[in-house]
Amino acid sequence: MSEIAVRIGGEAGDGIASVGESIARSFSRMGLHVFGFNAYQSVIRGGHVWYQARASPEHAHSQGDGADIVYALHRETVGIHAAGVRAGGTVIYDPEKFQVEPTDLPAGVTALGVPTLAIARKYTSQSILQNAAGTGAAAFLAGIPLDLFQEVLRDSFGGKKGEVVDWNLGAAAEGYHFAEQHASVHPHAPSQQGAPKLLMSGNEAIALGAAAAGCKFLSQYPMTPASSIMHWMAAHSPQIGVVVKQAEDELAAINMAIGASFAGVRAMTATSGGGFSLMVEALGMAGMTETPLVVVDAQRAGPSTGLPTKTEQGDLNLILGAGQGDFPRAILAPATPLEAYRAMIDAFRLAEDWQTPVIVASDLHLSESFQTVDRSDVDLNVAIPSLFPVAPNGHSYLRYQHTDSGVSPRAVPGQPGLQFVAGSDEHDERGHLVSDIVAGIPKWVSERQRMMEKRMKKLGGIARDAPPPVFEGPAGAPLTFVAWGSVVGAVRDAIVDLADGGKATNLLRFPTVYPLDAAAVTAAFGKTKRTLLVEQNFSGQFGRLLRAETGLVPTARFLKYDGEPFMPHEIVAKALEVI
């Protein structure tokens, strides 16, 4: 497969993410599939950070395995990344800052010294402009047309005009032309493929999907890697009619969302594991009061504060078990931005249809990586039913009426004649407490039992209504990967790489992690030979859930918990062991 990966490394504060994104966006405008991966530390200035834009005319499901062009803003980048440069690749550096010797690089990799500081000095005393010159050189090597690259840079300034924009365009062009005179375009550099693709992060897709699904209220407390959901919503708030509330803490965030939903507005909150931990009690309240709610957990590596800027799928046990007592919930786990967009639409539909919380499990790798989406795949015209379905019927209205499905007619404040109290205590069909008023009275003991059964009945309906497990790849393959969430991307790449090596494998992925339709999952497993669970946590949390719900145990497990996303070659190697 033809692909090219451009990696830019430096220190936090060097503007690495923005120049890296300019390369990624140039590729997406060329109609290529792109995966933009941002590796950073929990510091605002200093510390090594890097961005990689991987592009291919065929697919780019993950950050991939190596780089072809590395632009090193400091010496440390060479030390860290040289070994990952593939033969035929180039390392760009500025000889004024440090030297790169041939012995620093793997065989077949060349160094290209570009006078980035000297170029920058022509325009300004601000050395940060060097990155435009260096990235211009990288753009040439990657086969990006200069005018397209400059257009992306210009757009990155949001339509602003002035000398800073001109400096960047000028420095980029000089870097580009310098590389043109002293080096050649990488042989794997892909060419224009047609219509530009959309490039979005998982979090942008989550926010967009929520708004398309009719969400009008987001309350959130800042926490990496969930914060950019709030950033996107806030930046577009008046335009899309979404009230964005930065709450005082996650306790407030989830309670505000529940209040808004109770009052007739589709509402959500988003956080990471630490914040989710604070939301646990209110999650149960949403279950008990049967208030629709969508919660996004963008997971990062735990436990506790853990690795704030590193990825993991370690919150599954938390979000599965969060809350005292039993109440129905759904957990969706998209793998890509497009799936995340659609998962939010599913999440709001399920939350509203089943009047219970739905959790969308993202993770840092999905939330913060940028991937391409075909514009035609994003349908903004989502059918949104009215939130006020109950006709006034006077005193006979029972908010928590027993029904076959477990779902009762929901009124919202403002509707005359339907007043009720939503209680976090156990209650009867009218919403009256049966907790401390009537404890021990046989009639109400049985009512409590019926109410539990009414709520939990919804779980069966959700299992039938939520996106089912999906098979991808050739049927009857000797090995089937089992995966959920962002890990699916690296598995998809691994499947292609294995196929290139003559090994057929396929994938059984779980867009819904919970509830599982045991019969459907068992039937799916019946079509597999050997199975390899690939999961990004220490204990194989999904594997345990699968076993608990279905009795199924994958043939082998491949678990990773070092904070770094799976690389396709790691999965390939493990697969070859298991096949």
Binding site: L198, L199, M200, E204, L208, A211, A212, A213, G214, K216, H236, S237, P238, Q239, I240, G241, V243, K245, E248, D249, L251, A252, N255, M256, A257, I258, G259, A260, S261, F262, A263, G264, V265, A282, M285, T289, L380, N381, V382, I384, S386, L387, F388, P389, A391, P413, G414, Q415, P416, G417, L418, Q419, F420, V421, A422, G423, S424, D425, H432, I437
Partner: protein, 299 residues
């Protein structure tokens, strides 16, 4: 399809709508509990303002006093301990055509919910928060609360409380509440006035109520307060003067002021939230129909 709604417009003139009244649910409070006076005052206030019961939402947390929403015929949300205010704020922002009243106790509001209390006030959300302050944890059978007096012996402090009490009034003044009042459930008439004026006030209206616990607090009783309270309006207090309000808030001893400490007109959160200027959120269209231009930024 754009969202359509059956949410009614306010009733036309001349059409009587049910005003808030008592429900058939018998209050769970001990005979003689101060909270009876508070529910009566809330009912009187809402009736006096002629607000139909379906446009009122009473929100509470957990504690004896937090059962209040069940005893009135409005919409209610009886949530979890300490979180009444964020739920109430969410309701307000979802539909600021509704009258939202938060109710709860001193443990709920000033202990576990203290953070929300401060932030709701600094936002000047247009809602009314009535706390039934009995200076004790009643529902959990008598532990010290954030407003328990220094030295008071309770189940959790058998040798006496060794922490200073929170003063909700000065805390409210410091936090930016725009209507700060204190009532006494032994004076339901004045309390109803304070609540009604609080509901009419545009902004966060805080009414702290001495609502004695007849079972677990044998010190701060009805008699204790009857002997000590005096009315600010009879004492020449100017509620537009925050310095005077601050000084009055510090009075605690033989004389304890009740009434309106402070009132100021400032823009509410709902006034300043741009999206809400188009009307109640619940009635606004939902979704991104026809907004394909949004996708241009991703190119």
């Amino acid at each position: 399809m754009a969202e359509t709604t059956a949410l009614p417009k306010p009733a036309a003139h001349g059409t009587p709508l049910p005003l808030i009244g008592k429900t058939s649910t018998k209050p769970t409070w001990c005979p003689g509990c101060g909270d009876f006076g508070v529910v009566a005052a809330v009912e009187m206030a809402v009736k006096r303002l002629q607000i139909p019961s379906h446009n009122v939402v009473i929100v509470s947390g957990i504690g004896c006093s937090s059962n209040l929403p069940h005893f009135l015929s409005s919409y209610g949300f009886h949530g979890i301990h300490g979180r009444a205010l964020p739920v109430a704020e969410g309701i307000r922002w979802a539909n600021h055509g509704l009258t939202v009243i938060g109710t709860g106790g001193d443990g709920d509001g000033f202990g576990i919910g203290a953070g929300h209390f401060i932030h709701a006030m600094r936002r000047n959300v247009d809602l009314t928060y009535v706390t039934m302050d009995n200076q004790i944890y009643g529902l959990t059978t008598g532990q010290a609360s954030p407003t328990s007096t220094l030295g008071v012996k309770t189940k959790s402090t058998p040798n006496g409380v060794i922490e200073n009490p929170i003063d909700p009034i000065s805390l409210a003044l410091a936090s930016g509440a725009t209507y700060v009042a204190r009532g006494f459930s032994g004076d339901v008439k004045q309390l109803a006035d304070l609540v009604a004026n609080g509901i009419q006030h545009r902004g966060f209206a805080f009414v702290d109520v001495f609502s004695p616990c007849v079972t677990y607090n044998k010190i701060n009783t009805f008699d204790f307060f009857r002997q000590r309270v005096y009315k600010l309006e009879s004492a020449g207090h100017d509620p537009s003067d925050i310095v005077a309000a601050w000084q009055r808030s510090l009075e605690w001893g033989d004389k304890i002021p009740i009434g309106l400490f402070y009132k100021v007109d400032k823009p509410t959160y709902e006034d300043l939230e741009e999206v809400l200027t188009a009307g109640p959120l619940a009635l606004q269209p939902a979704g991104l129909h026809g907004k394909e231009k949004l996708l241009d930024e991703f190119v």
